[in-house]
Symmetry: C2
Subunit: 430 residues, 2 copies
């Protein structure tokens, strides 16, 4: 009981995806960095703990971003007139090449981490570039934010611009060993390495084989891209004719769930067999609605993934997605699911706001353990949101205020505090 406090306000979370559980003017207990329960009043045995009274503010779990490219933050919201493979060639790869320069990386990642610190994100899984030093610099910057994150040095040994193509599978894998060792030596408390083969078009079979060894040696989790765009899926079919489907190309190297905790971004065009394999292997789907829209990939069939029991979270996917705001990702996921229902499959009911909120909290949070909910025993990641600037002629119920806060993007001006594992973050400047 020594190390605890109460946060008081309008507490909103989703223990179950179908309904937002709301406790008005309630007390959320934090004990040793974990949630200890929600109470209508301070229970007698906790009478000595401090109460941080946040008045009429909304209190909700921190947002979990399962997929974001830190180097692409530099050109977010530009280059929106092309499709995936062209977009990589014209925008993403030329920008990523700049991170060979440590000075540029430092400047860019300081800005990126600053934006993440200001955001509602409390957990993130992040792509760097192929550059070891730059990616370690990214980890240094992220460590300062208080956010708990996984950060990957990207592997690419083919089909990229020369300046981003590592000189062979051995060299790429060896550099990854070096990256993981250096990251470990730096002794970060909240920033961890993750294996990051970019995607099969940029990774030879030899490289995937080597990464399989690295993964086993360090018991690393894995992140990559999967079945994002029809042209990309077709390209993978040609590059790996033996694979039963795109994801099988990762799986044959032990990089697709199972012992390897894995996030696959997008999964817009996954076949039935691929979906089944993801379920069997416990692969996390990072659903990135803004990115799939912006680079014209399509709409992932998230309703089906949920119904079939896949693990699903949301990703901002900067800079395919134009913003790091996970509030935006939540409403984007609802919006594209409505278009999917209307235009593609009338049996796929749109996501409710509650379901999408769940994906951004408890859904993606599961990648980190007991994260994304205020149930007892969950890690205490909480946001304090002041929506008083969003005016109206009559008071709204808390449920509506929460939905409005997301649709109005109040993570920008309304976020007052962010707690991660019970510790307040200092990044917020508002």
């Amino acid at each position: 009981m020594a190390n605890g406090f109460f946060l008081k306000g309008n507490i909103c979370h989703t223990p179950e995806k179908d309904e937002i559980e709301i406790h008005e003017n309630a007390y959320l207990l934090c004990e040793d960095g974990r949630c200890g329960g929600i109470f209508p009043a301070v229970p007698e045995q906790y009478a000595g703990l401090p109460v941080l009274d946040r008045g009429d503010c909304l209190i909700l779990p921190g947002m979990v971003d399962l997929h974001i490219h830190a180097p692409q933050f530099a050109f977010r919201g530009t280059g929106m007139d092309c499709e995936l493979l062209e977009w990589l060639r014209l925008y993403a790869f030329p920008e990523e090449a700049r991170y060979a320069d440590p000075g540029y990386a430092k400047r860019a990642y300081t800005l990126f981490a600053g934006a993440m610190a200001e955001s509602a994100t409390t957990r993130a899984v992040i792509f760097g570039t192929v550059h070891r030093e730059a990616t370690l610099c990214l980890m240094d910057c992220m460590e300062q934010t208080g956010i708990i994150s996984y950060v990957g040095k990207v592997n690419m040994d083919r089909d990229a611009p020369p300046e981003l193509t590592e000189p062979g599978a051995d060299a790429s894998a060896f550099d990854t060993f070096g990256f993981v060792n250096a990251a470990t030596r730096r002794g970060y408390k909240r920033t961890f390495p993750i294996l990051t083969p970019r995607f099969i078009p940029c990774c030879s079979d030899a490289l995937l084989g080597e990464l399989s060894e690295v993964r086993r040696a360090y018991d690393l989790p894995v992140q990559s891209h999967l079945s994002e765009n029809p042209d990309e899926v077709e390209l993978v079919r040609r590059l790996m004719p033996d694979a039963a489907f795109y994801g099988d190309g990762y799986d044959r190297y032990g990089l697709f769930g199972g012992a390897a905790r894995t996030i696959m971004a997008h999964c817009v065009w996954s076949t039935e067999a691929e979906v089944k394999r993801m379920r069997d292997r416990g692969v996390f789907v990072a659903h990135c609605p803004a990115s799939n829209t912006n680079i014209a990939s399509g709409i992932a069939p998230v309703r089906k993934y949920i119904a079939e029991g896949l693990r699903v979270g949301l990703g901002s996917d900067v800079a395919g997605g134009q913003t790091e705001s996970m509030f935006r990702a939540v409403t984007d996921a609802v919006q594209v699911s409505k278009l999917y229902w209307r235009l593609v499959d009338r049996t796929a009911a749109p996501l409710s706001f509650s379901e999408s909120f769940y994906l951004a909290t408890k859904g993606g949070g599961a990648f980190f353990g007991k994260v994304g909910s205020f149930e007892a025993g969950y890690e205490f990641d909480a946001l304090v949101l002041d929506d008083s600037g969003c005016t109206g002629p009559r008071p709204l119920p808390v449920r509506d205020r929460l939905e409005r806060a997301f649709y109005q993007g109040l993570d920008r001006e309304g976020l007052r505090e962010k707690y991660i594992q019970g510790v307040p973050c200092r990044g917020l400047t508002r």
Copy 2:
């Protein structure tokens, strides 16, 4: 030359839809409320005019919102889990019924007009409610903003809740006469009445006939909804079995373009015949991408409308759309056009950013005359946008900065000044 000034900065506009014309560090001349040209330096004959130097800011035409429901602003961003007809019943109609109370209307419309004043919108076409007094109050409020707008008292004489159903076609039309007369007597300088039959499901044939008379008597423009949702289109087919298509139901009463300058919102499910009639009559399509997504209506085939020469502008459609931000409408229009291309019609090329920018400025501006461009002779509606808060590791070209400003929603924190017909608006509090 007496009444003029120069605005200096990075000037961006779209005389043609396919390319954003950019003049860096250039001088935009305002003479008697109209644009007098863009110059690399102050021409000798204008040497005496003041130069308002806005440094590195972006200067762009004001945004034109062709479709927004003022009373629905009160519940924007809530109630997003249903489809059109259910949404009207559960959210829109109950809210609109509150505007029978003049005190409520005053409070709500003051907030609405305040938000519009803070926004990038310089021209708007607005729905009120069936209530005459409340709608006049809305006009009072809008007149204060500097925005030039058309405001309509809504007509509904069937199939709505009793408290919103006017007692017969005669009463509805008579009240509209009263509304138009009162609005005229108030002598607004920038706020004008527009005929506003809600949509055919709520308007009897008798009412449309009466409104046809009102329209002719006052030479009023018209706004309404058209072919938004499949269930609604089917309902209209049953209600008006003689009409060749939904829009023919307005056209047979002279409320569909031609002499009646007309805006039809949505047009998601228009048939070929309806599209042809819209073109023949010069009807403006108000494309409302956020609303069509949120209430799961679908995606309007805007590429086709542009190719076939229809007049098209954008609408925020609050509260089907969750925000009055026209920057958001611009990027939403690009985004949904990509999904339309990917999922519905691979011959319908996505809208470029430039095209969508054009729709929000010169496209919709045409409803107001020579509005939405900085070509000589156009009315001087201009925004000064400071994007310096949107940081990056390297400078971006002005074209990319403009695109980024829209995708980042910088109309919220970056809008520094708004000029309408050459006059600075006082509403901005930033």
